[in-house]
Symmetry: D3
Subunit: 318 residues, 6 copies
């Protein structure tokens, strides 16, 4: 929640400078974490649980709503006045009320820290992490700013070939690195409660008569499950990946962590993913994303640069 | 500004309980002062100047805008969630940022006070003040809640005959009481920069030809000044007073203080009024309101009950 | 419908005087009935059925919509004009069209009445009824105006301890008085079609694994029914009652009549409630509200003052 | 006001049938008069002055606002209900309140009439009047529905050559017929208070240096008056007339009556126009429109068919 | 799609001339087809498939949305500028992008055509088709403009008795004419996926107790199917037909083609209807509408005038 | 207009990818010019005048309005559909209609060019230009993205000390380089029609009595001119420069070119500025900006890197 708090402050400041021409919502990018850590330090959850509003679990809907209303009122052009010097303090006052005041000094495992000293104690080399993506609307092997609303901070990613992006992912997981994974989770193939995420190859043959009637009458989830029994997944190409991004099918929904690789009984590869949502009741909140799903629905991954295969690293001069 | 701060908190709480079906704006009634004093005490301006936002003079336009946006976001029905326990603290955080935190202990004239002890030191009998008005849509000699948006608190006033309301005012000023005056200041006859407020009798004769052309071409203010040269003011009856309230001509604009009576060279009575606005450059911010103006445009007056003539006091059992 | 018609007229007048800063909708409070009876008299349903709009059952959705649109147009600040003297007549014209003109003289059981003479014939002592509630945000044993949108009229209630409010209710029903009951009926425990309203104690133990999955997959109503089998209801304290009012869980939904008390096979107390809605097909439109439901979800009750136990009556000086 | 009342009823009925996809405002076309006369009869102003709302002169701003709000509420798609049978009666109730109930029987010059009998007494052949216009986007000598918002009723006009339309006008006025004139009165050349309406030829030569500065600093009206001193007016062709209609310069503003022709000292033709507005203080409310103004800014004229020159009448088969 | 394209252009032009006071949406009337054919000619689907936007089936939701946004921006009154001469070309540019440029010359069955020459080759007598309807709010045997939003073009229909309208339909189908059918398809009795459309007589007897509970718990479709088993349909009179049109029950939803008549096992008449929607999987996209459904829910039919029985044709002078 | 056209296309594409969370309006940054030149080439005004909409001078108000409406309709979340592949072509169709189709081949001074060959012929080294600014909210000597709405493209600027930014400007102009100047032109000191832009030192002494009255009554422009007679301008510090940017006083209004330096009779420095607006009638459209104005109101300047003094160039490693 420390990251959430400090990101909201920076986002509000930029939103106001941009006179509101920017996303201002709960979402963000992995770069937000690095940016906050560099500017303000880090605070463990124990020292800043951020639950000052009467609930035991995080639900920011009211907080998001009042923060949005607040910054909208600040930038509203009709007011036609100079801004006061108090507006950012007012926003911090709201954050203090919901999440708690920012800790200047806190105790963790018996030692006292400031956010800066805690960050330094962790020994993370914050500049050693890079973001990688793969799209056709920018040249490969250059950095570009992924054009998604949540990327309010303008974080840059390296553009690699699809198979290179996957090679980075595989190499990282194989070598014990956790990979931050920005992905689309609003697909009908994302079945979190069932514990997996897949992309069935779309139905080829044309149904007729009663077959069609039966199919049409199924719920989207039932259709998905039926398709999955046959289990052939889509072959993902850069073109269909790009099209899905271009036409709003793939959206920038959620950040998770890929922590491992598994193979199912048929030999297909699945990535093990850690999710911050409340448990799905199956794998303690983990789920398995098929390789086609990851190829298709990954916005970007963030990895330690040492996790990138040397050949690829050379191509982008890292 | 202490009164402003505490009133905004109470107003927000009621606004939220009423699910937004209430005025929430900068305005208020005299009762707000008494209510805050009773519940929270009083703080002198020196101890709570309320100018934490980068200006030397009060300008609450941004503060009003963000507070309104904030409470609107809280009550927004579409959100369809339970309220958190933090929302009122968030609103106080905004007030803290713009006006400063509420002083728990402050020093005034070399002595230390809490808001409560400061109020008690002043020795005011807060229950000895009554509000008086005069309208025909409620029975005389009863209390009623004046139906104006700023009366969000539901303050009650005694309804007297017009001449009785004026008699209370005259008696109060004659006996050295200051009278709180709720009045309409958006009339064309309210000429603050000229130092007076009047109600010219409306033009009776019908203008013709070039006379009419000339008149029509005048600005509203020029017409007013021309009418004033002839100086006959309107004879105000309860009926025209009521009509102006009924049809939105008379609105509940502003609270001021009547501190004296003066007579002009023609023997007409004017009330001396103290206004909180920046000086008009003529009478140090004071101005003079004609008796017809006061008869016509008074929403209510608040006076010490000892300032009411005995005969009237008997009628309302005070 | 006579009450509906006259209340809409009074509500519109106040709404316009408040420049729209007030609720204007179909809802109201019990005080509306008393207020109309005192000002305008009473008319039996036979003499004013109010069904002039092509339906056999009351459905005011179109009427409510046009009345709201009408008064919004009147108060719209952008128009910036004085109001005409015709606007209230125009609103009455709408009411005449939908509900029928107000009867000046009507025949009931073979005798002719005016609304006033019909009220007087009934012999009701309209000032003998008092409203009672129980909240912690006002001092006990004082009158306060319940802050709910439907209380547009500003009706006052006496604030009693929760057990005292319940004692008044019990005493009234035991002595044959019908009690007007303002309550929240949008709770998942309000199962009108099943004929009862309850407040199950919330699930204490934490579910795990498949138990959790099953529970999560249930519809809200299925969860409710499952909880009810175990039948332990919530122990309602003033604190949780207040919290539910503060956080919008308890809302001011509907007015009904409590006409009796019943005990189920396990000895738990239920209040028999008469509802104006179309029959639930079980108990001829009646349903049974458990004592915890009434303790938790009562906004206020209105009773004849003789129905209040003497000890309580003494405390509030009635 | 009889015409106003009955037109509003018909317009509301069509507006609701069109689910709001139509203009609903104060404006209309000449055909409205004929349509009301045919369907409902006529009522003289003395018998239906339409001033029931507290003013001595017509000001329909509040009435227009509530009627619009009313019909918008009726057609609002979100309500998703069947309409009641009462809605049109409710609208009539509003009209009754502001304009007075429709007279079924009234006395005029000592004789009693119904609207129908009054119309019949007048002896007007309502089908003998035709509307004429001149535009290039429809074929000449055919009837078409002028596409302007106020033509909600879909009235058809005959499309003639510009010089033919003017010939009809001249012939009509020469033979003592009054001509109804639908025209654009929001032009800078429409100087009602000065008593005339003109179309100065636009400035040809390019101004330089201080000449330009002086010109730029003038108000639009001052520029107009300066241009008029030189008095050369625009030569109006069908093309510039059409362009001004196509590009929203010429709008359908107002209906007036042309009652005569005059010639100024320089021999230029002006049409004498009778206007319903409050007097301009110069010519008792009449003003003079130059021939170019009429050629340029006429939407349509309505004349008795006997006022059309025979040659033209033959072309359209009347 | 040629018709769609050219209609959108004409509709936009009229919408802009009407300053937006008109429907502008995907819907239209049969007259649109005749109007386009007369003004611009005809183009077969092969020559203008209109699928330039990445889909294999027509889905105009995005196109409709941008066209509406475009014309709304043109007419927006706040802009207060003259229109440019480019706006209609800009709209055509959008249509070119989505549907393809208008073909000036195309090859069909080995021959080259312009739209005009293709229309002429077809040999259709476009003036020989007439629209027929039956409503009580206009006189019978006259032409009137059906007041439905989709009739933006102002097409006129002949008003016949209900039995006459049905007689025209029967005569046309009996003689091999296809009949264009404008009908309401949002009724619960319109069961396209089941292959029929019916109007069950509404349930007469009052259900009680558990019977009612069961009924209330059914989905609208289940209730419909249950009613259909008993199969008695509503007897449709002009009055209930008119009421359904007046109260928004019958809406102007969709145009289809009636191509035949069938009789079910019980001897009831059904009309065979061809629908442009994707196949319902039962009768190749055809469905059967009962005679009561057609009587009740027909907005208008368009037939060749030779398909009208002579007796009726005589009454309207065709 | 070539730059305008191509920028609008790129801006639309990014706007849609950002789901509308970005400015989409007529404004832009200098980087837009370089970006278009690199990606698409350059076209001289003669070859692409962009005046296809009926006017002789550029007025994009209608074009801006329809483009905005168009992209808003594309990103509208409520539609909930995948985007088509045609939307960008539709936008180009609008641009074609208003500005003309993009020239693939054009003749200039007798030779034929493509946009790319024309750019290459010009011999500009597009990567040799850098943007420079000076703000305190980012570290000096680093690149940052200026947070102003028009910087939709995310162009980076080098952050220098205020005196260094001015030294770059002086050095550039002294050495004959034209400097692109992004500045705020909505200040009361920006008197374009008078031919200069200044920042008067604010009035220090407090006015009293009639002096104040006179001052208050002046128009903003009159006050400005009076202040200018005394001619002492504000001393601009980084702090007041930053504050004006922080509080919305300094806004990102307009891009111009600084082409020279002049000194007035009192020895004060003024920069000669070339403006694209229609001539101010004094200096052929040029005006003179005082050094304090430039210090205060410059958002950024873009210069050739050779125009930067070596010492400064070394600090930023160029």
């Amino acid at each position: 929640m420390w990251i959430v708090r400090q990101t909201y402050i920076d986002k509000a400041e930029k939103f106001v400078r941009m006179h509101g021409n920017m996303e201002f919502a709960a979402g963000g990018s992995f770069e937000d974490v690095f940016s906050v850590a560099k500017k303000y330090g880090l605070v463990p959850e124990e020292a800043y649980p951020g639950l000052n509003y009467g609930l035991d679990n995080h639900d920011h809907s009211e907080l998001d709503a009042v923060l949005r209303a607040y910054v909208d009122a600040i930038v509203k052009p009709a007011r036609g006045k100079k801004l006061t010097t108090a507006w950012l303090n007012g926003l911090k006052g709201i954050l203090d009320a919901y999440l708690g005041p920012a800790p200047e000094l806190f105790t963790y495992n018996g030692r006292q820290y400031t956010p800066e000293s805690f960050r330094d104690m962790l020994g993370l080399q914050l500049d050693d992490y890079v973001s990688i993506s793969s799209f056709t609307h920018h040249p490969y092997y250059t950095e570009f700013v992924i054009e998604v609303p949540d990327n309010w901070i303008g974080a840059a990613s390296w553009n690699l070939l699809l198979e290179e992006m996957m090679a980075v992912l595989d190499n990282a997981v194989d070598n014990g690195y956790t990979v931050a994974w920005g992905a689309d989770v609003s697909e009908s193939g994302f079945l979190y409660r069932k514990g997996y995420a897949v992309v069935p190859a779309e139905q080829e043959e044309t149904l007729e008569g009663t077959e069609l009637s039966r199919w049409v009458a199924l719920s989207p989830e039932s259709r998905m499950l039926e398709l999955l029994e046959e289990k052939s997944e889509l072959t993902v190409t850069p073109e269909i990946r790009q099209l899905a991004y271009d036409n709003y099918e793939t959206t920038d929904d959620h950040g998770m962590l890929i922590t491992g690789i598994a193979t199912d009984q048929r030999g297909d590869t699945f990535y093990k993913v850690k999710n911050s949502w409340t448990s799905n009741g199956i794998y303690d909140g983990y789920f398995y994303a098929s390789r086609p799903f990851v190829e298709y629905k990954t916005l970007n991954i963030v990895v330690h640069k040492d996790a990138i295969p040397d050949a690829i690293r050379a191509k982008i001069g890292l």
